[in-house]
Symmetry: C2
Subunit: 401 residues, 2 copies
């Protein structure tokens, strides 16, 4: 199930090779997943010698989840189906007007309702994942603090469930962690066991995969690298400390150095890049300063974690082509030789990373235990007895492969 969900359509032979199970067991498992509406099969390609191996595909309508991203500047909602298929999506800008968590969640719930109403014939969503720009407690999903949102100690999941009136599980996590999960499963970190995704916006955060597993730390706060104390003589950060990394490398720092302090958001960064394209030396040197400060923090991350690959997300991905030379030069001076070999690549999923990660968080429960998804009515089974037979035939086989 995980394999077809993450890596796309696969023949029964592929699945037998991947799982190490024999063809007949794979056939049983596929039959059960089909009976639960989680996968669909179609005949495989003809022409090769031997029987064609049917192609197994995740059924996007088998399980659908709501994925929600709450950023400082925008809100995004998507209905995402098994296999990662985006079935409906909407995003809106968010003013930094200090609006409350309640008001923001009411707005999010309104978007959710519109998207769900647009699919009246479909079964309701089975879970909700929220990615939010803040520190989230692992144990209960509480938003401990959203520094730029101005929120503290909010049970976002409960608030959304109540506002939306949907009785499904809600999972909440940090946006950078979710971008990392998404990049690890479906983007720039695929197949990489020691991976860091660094997220640059107004705030800066990282998600860490170490030894193939997310590194969350004792309370889920790992990756708060925006507050690395890297600039002792630097500016005061909103967190109260002086010289945090994000005061040198966050969006405000770039805009300030480019002579555009006070502006903000995606358009403002694009304008700096356009000026650099036009040869404006102020814009170019502002971007180079970002590259240099990126190298200082990346050297820190690299010496601590020895990752194989680091993906830059958010506006860091946009400035990477412009900042790469300054970054590479500074990093080669700052990092000891075998560590400096970490590959620095742009994230692949763009601004959708946190949203896709939030969906994966919501899918996780069913991927762990697909047998918990109820059997569905299928036209070719004319009676309850037929369904019972179908269920019994496959019931003894472990599904969670």
């Amino acid at each position: 199930m995980r394999r077809v969900h993450l890596a796309g359509p696969a023949s029964r032979s592929d699945l037998a090779n991947y799982t190490g199970l024999n063809r007949s067991t794979v056939g049983d498992l596929v039959a059960e997943l089909t009976a639960r509406g989680l996968v669909q099969e179609r005949a495989g390609p003809r022409g090769a010698p031997g029987r064609p191996s049917p192609i197994v595909t995740a059924n996007p309508n088998g399980i659908t989840v709501l994925a929600i991203a709450i950023f400082d500047d925008s809100l995004a909602v998507a209905i995402i189906g098994l296999g990662g298929r985006v079935l409906a999506r909407e995003s809106v800008e968010r003013a930094r007007d200090g609006s409350s968590a309640e008001a923001t969640i009411a707005r999010v719930a309104g978007i959710c309702r519109t998207l769900l109403d647009g699919r009246p014939e479909q079964s309701p969503v089975q879970a909700i994942g929220i990615a939010v720009a803040g520190v989230v407690q692992r144990s209960d999903g509480e938003l401990v603090v959203g520094p730029n949102l101005g929120w503290r100690h909010v049970a976002l999941g409960e608030l959304l469930r109540t506002t939306l009136g949907l009785d499904v599980p809600v999972f909440t996590a940090n946006d950078a962690d979710m971008a990392t999960l998404a990049e690890h499963l479906r983007g720039a970190g695929m197949g990489c066991d020691d991976f860091v995704c660094l997220w640059g916006e107004v705030g800066v955060g990282a998600g860490i995969i170490a030894g193939g597993r997310p590194l969350s730390g004792r309370s889920g706060f790992a990756g708060e690298v925006g507050h690395l104390p890297l600039s002792p003589a630097g500016r005061l950060c909103h967190c109260g400390a002086r010289g945090c990394w994000e005061t040198e490398v966050g969006e405000h720092a770039l805009l300030r150095r480019a002579g555009r302090a006070g502006s903000g958001g995606p358009g403002a960064i694009d304008l700096v890049l356009a000026r650099a394209d036009a040869g404006d030396p102020v814009a170019i040197s502002a971007i180079e300063a970002s590259g240099l400060w990126l190298a200082v923090g990346l050297a820190t991350v690299i010496h601590t974690l020895n990752p194989e690959r680091i993906a830059l997300a958010g506006f860091f991905a946009s400035i990477l082509p412009y900042a790469r030379d300054a970054l590479t030069k500074a990093l080669s001076e700052l990092a000891i030789e075998p560590l400096a070999a970490a590959a620095i690549v742009p994230a692949r999923l763009g601004a959708d990373g946190p949203l896709i990660g939030a969906a994966e968080l919501a899918f996780e429960h069913w991927l762990d235990d697909p047998a918990s998804v109820p059997l569905i009515d299928r036209p070719e089974w004319s009676s309850t007895a037929d369904r019972r037979v179908a269920a019994k035939e496959v019931g003894a086989t472990r599904l969670a492969i």
Copy 2:
């Protein structure tokens, strides 16, 4: 086996509770471990109602390993038996005279030989673990660089095996990683899944346990925190970069600030502490500066990893009582609130940490698979047939609990 090795003597009832196996299975397993000479049993305490539950103890002579630590200033060798019992031990000072890896290993081999010759009646050691002050490649145990040793690309294990003429497996790892393993298994990090052990000497390094597992990174270089670029306007480091953390917080920095530049080694630090005890303001302010710079790096580690506990080892443990106030105050200013809660404690195993960790590295193979240890002759078994029966009785039971 792991339980009695790490946590000491346990009754059969304790082992049944710990493993979740029934008493009779535990009895079978203990019988097999006894037959292989790995544990010993003695009658349990009398007086409690019911049958006394025999007490199972690791047999220190069941498996013995050579543990070797190669530091910038000293060399240590121990013969360590199952249960972590130190059976023989010797350490010597090492001059920083630029002597080669070959010369140093010849000296180590000499000490090993003396210790082994002192136990002529015992079976030979079954493995060797080496902890070394340098960057070690995980895949093959090659010392990539020992910055203060002045060595590059040395296959220490192979060199020692050849020099010593012992055909047993040799495992090599970074000294800070081994101190961390030891503290995690037997010291200040026991029972703590998110743990960092920070090692201060001339160089500074950390070992990381994340989610209960050692974090080694892509190539085993994780925890090279001595080279975090934390002091942009700082001194040139021997690694070639400017302002590495160890230039502010390593032994040289403390001695320099205390007016004792050029001295070094354990005695030199003790002298600074003695002067602080006597109220010398230069010594006191030098230690406080170390505390402040410790906080800068610890804030970095804490924001990246969110550990539950950080143990300070090496001379950091010695200065902690003197530097604690400066450290705590600076950390509360530098770290965002929920993260600053990480406990900072002295390491418990002192300078023996890397040695004990190296021994655990060498034991690991047999703890993973105690059934690979051959059956031993026991006086109460009068014939080969008896031994065969004993082996057969327990042979089908899985041992690696």
